[in-house]
Subunit: 114 residues, 2 copies
DNA sequence: TTGGAATATTCGATCCTTCGCATATAGTAT
DNA sequence: ATACTATATGCGAAGGATCGAATATTCCAA
């Protein structure tokens, strides 16, 4: 496989390699949301959300639709949702080790994923 | 979902977010290989391969088995292979746009993935 | 046409990643 | 013990990612 193709895949993983961007994709799984919706649900700076959306857009993981003042985002291809679903399974399977890997153990109860 | 879990997933994507590490995982899909085998097949610096293997190990994506002088690596959980298989489907589906995204078009024929 | 709301972009500081080079460790054989 | 092979680790330079603050753009309403 040529290196350019490997780079393409790596870029997509790179786009997913941030907690906020994962949160965005997962929030969008149930349907489109505006940038403002995401900002509110995630409780982060407007500029920051917009920057993360720009990353996801640049790799074509999300598409956007303008409606007046607002911009609505959705996941472009359900394959990406499947990838995240697989990751959830992976996480559940390796929950113990996963917790061991986490830097901060905040003593909360075992979380159920999503 | 707590942020720590999002970070866990992001870390795994981060581990996959490099062309060389993707190549390693894909090479390991058919069975275990030694670090030397990988070095030879990928034609990269010994230290570099070892560093990438360290990343994959630290996120527990691969496991290793010592046999005398050598260290044999394999993918820990087939779910990771499934994730890469999905990515291959994704790539084929969006081949045209993908090529548009690639920086360097070297004029070669349309590649068949793997 | 001025104002306000929603979103995007630019900038600079800080941190993280990646690489090659050099060196360290571990196993094997002589 | 010595030497050799396989693999890992430490280091420093170069480039890339992330953030908040400030600013720009776009659209609508009065």
């Amino acid at each position: 496989m040529p290196d350019s193709l490997r780079r393409f895949k790596a870029d997509i993983f790179q786009a997913l390699a941030h907690p906020t961007r994962i949160a965005i994709i997962e929030l969008l799984e149930d349907g489109e949301l505006s940038a403002g919706d995401l900002m509110e649900k995630l409780g982060m700076e407007q500029a920051n959300i917009s920057q993360h959306l720009a990353v996801l857009r640049s790799k074509q993981l999300v598409v956007n639709r303008k409606a007046g003042n607002q911009v609505f985002y959705s996941v472009r291809d359900p394959i990406i949702n499947k990838v995240l679903a697989l990751m959830r399974r992976y996480f559940q399977k390796h929950l113990k080790e996963a917790l061991g890997l986490l830097d901060e153990m905040d003593g909360s109860t075992i979380p159920t994923d999503r």
